[in-house]
């Protein structure tokens, strides 16, 4: 993982309410952190793969989102992929008080950040 990316993840993904995050950085390496045992690294990686495939299928239909939010009954999964192949997913509860604005801002900055994966 590049230093800028490590710094970004360490400094920005620290707010309360964030259940977990997972980042995929080229070439095919995965890092994650979770507040819950059941949301373990293996699950996060598997989910991340599915999120990546889903984003690709949206792109095939001329929908190229810069950020995506999958809303489930109990959970929200946020996902953003950069052009350099790095991608980030953030997990939070689907409940009032979830850090929605914070996550959105992090993803926005993640996509826009120059040279994050160098």
């Amino acid at each position: 993982m590049s230093e800028p990316l490590r710094d970004f993840l360490a400094s920005r993904l620290t707010f309360p309410g964030l259940a977990a995050w997972g980042a995929w950085f080229s070439p095919g390496q995965f890092a994650s952190q979770s507040q819950y045992n059941w949301l373990n690294a293996a699950r996060l990686q598997q989910t991340h793969q599915e999120l990546t495939i889903a984003a690709e299928s949206l792109a095939q239909h001329q929908l190229r989102p810069s950020r995506l939010c999958w809303v489930f009954e109990h959970m929200r999964i946020y996902f953003a992929a950069r052009e350099d192949g790095t991608s980030l997913a953030c997990y939070t509860q689907n409940a009032p008080g979830a850090p929605i604005a914070e996550i959105d801002k992090v993803l926005q900055d993640f996509v826009r950040h120059q040279n994050l994966n160098l």
């Binding site: 599915e50 989102p65 810069s66 995506l68 939010c69 489930f72 959105d104």
Partner: protein, 371 residues
């Protein structure tokens, strides 16, 4: 002049049959043809007296298309054509709502027989009751009159882009349906149509009663909603452009309350879809426009679409999203999937998968909002 639409992927047959039919009818019928379902759906917005549908079509067969058409255009008279009109097929077609199943003609006599059937069908099955166009509160007046007279009838309401039914039983409004909406939500949507046409049809009991509120309260509520809508529209038109307020786009996956309101607004969209192309929403959202809208049943049948370039592509997309959501649910105990919200370079899109509907709404935001 009556209007007839022939749908068949065999363009040679279409050309031959339509020319011949026009000639035979001596100007009584205006003939339209479509070799694809997409084109047929477009033409059906013209309101056809009769739709003649070939069963053997690629991608979506005639039976599937028949169901789709009847959902979007209840009451549409449909004649099915097939190479082999077996009893089994005939029964299936009639069960699905077709008026009759005919064998595709191959001889001159066959063509004449088909013409005779279609012409007589058009004559004898012209819509009963009366037909009107809503002017201001015309539709409400009709409902009020029927309710006061304790009549039983079905009011079919249609615009070029949407259809719906209101069931009145012995002076009570008992059921309404429009697209995937049923009950009071559907009724309010139908009463919100401006310039919609309507037919009064003979009463048939609906599958189930979905409205239990007194008709007086329903019509009062509808009138209040229309007043509110007009008030918002006036305010939106009067409000000067305010980049500061229009740029306050909520974050992706915004607060649940906000989302609920958004989905609610989306659910009522078919009723408003016949408004001018870029209707102002509220003053806060006056810069945002709906670029695309697709509504399907839970089974994936198209119920309503607006400004959608490829219906088949969007059906595929909705199915794929459902599949991905199922995969994700298999990995994480996240509960029932509701929707995806996507921030796009020029706006946002929401794809919702519910047990009874699949929905895609894409909106375009003004440039420079930094999505």
């Amino acid at each position: 002049m009556k209007q007839i639409l022939f749908v068949d992927d065999d363009t040679a047959f279409l050309e031959l049959f339509s020319q011949w039919f026009e000639q035979m009818s001596a100007g009584k019928w205006k003939v339209f043809t479509a070799s694809t379902h997409g084109r047929a759906l477009q033409l059906l917005n013209e309101r056809m007296d009769l739709l003649v549908l070939d069963i053997g079509m690629p991608v979506m067969d005639g039976m599937q298309f028949l169901r789709l058409v009847l959902r979007a255009h209840p009451g549409q008279q449909i004649v099915m054509l097939t190479g082999q009109a077996t009893e089994e097929r005939k029964k299936a077609c009639l069960e699905q709502g077709a008026a009759v199943l005919l064998e595709k003609p191959v001889t001159a006599e066959g063509y004449q027989s088909v013409f005779a059937v279609l012409e007589s069908w058009g004559e004898t099955h012209s819509k009963p009751g009366f037909r009107g166009v809503t002017r201001e509160v015309g539709l409400q007046e009709v409902l009020r009159m029927d309710c006061l007279a304790r009549k039983s009838s079905i009011v079919e309401v249609f615009t070029p882009q949407a259809r719906g039914l209101i069931f009145i039983s012995e002076g009570e409004i008992v059921h309404a349906e429009a697209g995937s909406l049923q009950g009071e939500a559907a009724l309010y949507g139908l009463l919100g149509f401006v310039g919609a046409e309507f037919n009064l049809r003979e009463y048939n009991r609906p599958m189930r009663r979905t409205i239990f509120t007194k008709w007086e309260s329903l019509l009062t509520e509808a009138a209040q909603m229309q007043d509110e809508h007009s008030r918002l529209e006036r305010r939106s038109e009067a409000a000067p452009e305010n980049p500061a307020s229009s740029s306050s786009i909520p974050p992706i996956g915004g607060e649940p309350e906000h989302q609920a309101a958004e989905i609610q607004a989306v659910e009522t969209l078919p009723a408003e879809a016949q408004e001018p192309p870029d209707p102002p929403a509220t003053s806060e959202q006056s810069q945002v426009r709906i670029a695309e809208f697709v509504l399907c049943s839970g089974a994936g049948e198209m119920l309503f679409e607006s400004r959608c370039d490829s219906v088949e592509g969007r059906l595929q997309l909705l199915a794929q999203v459902e599949e991905h959501a199922a995969q994700l649910s298999g990995i994480l105990p996240a509960g029932r999937f509701d929707r995806i919200e996507a921030m796009l370079p020029d706006g946002r899109a929401v794809v919702q998968i519910a047990p009874d509907r699949r929905l895609l709404v894409r909106s375009v935001h003004p440039p420079g909002e930094g999505l």
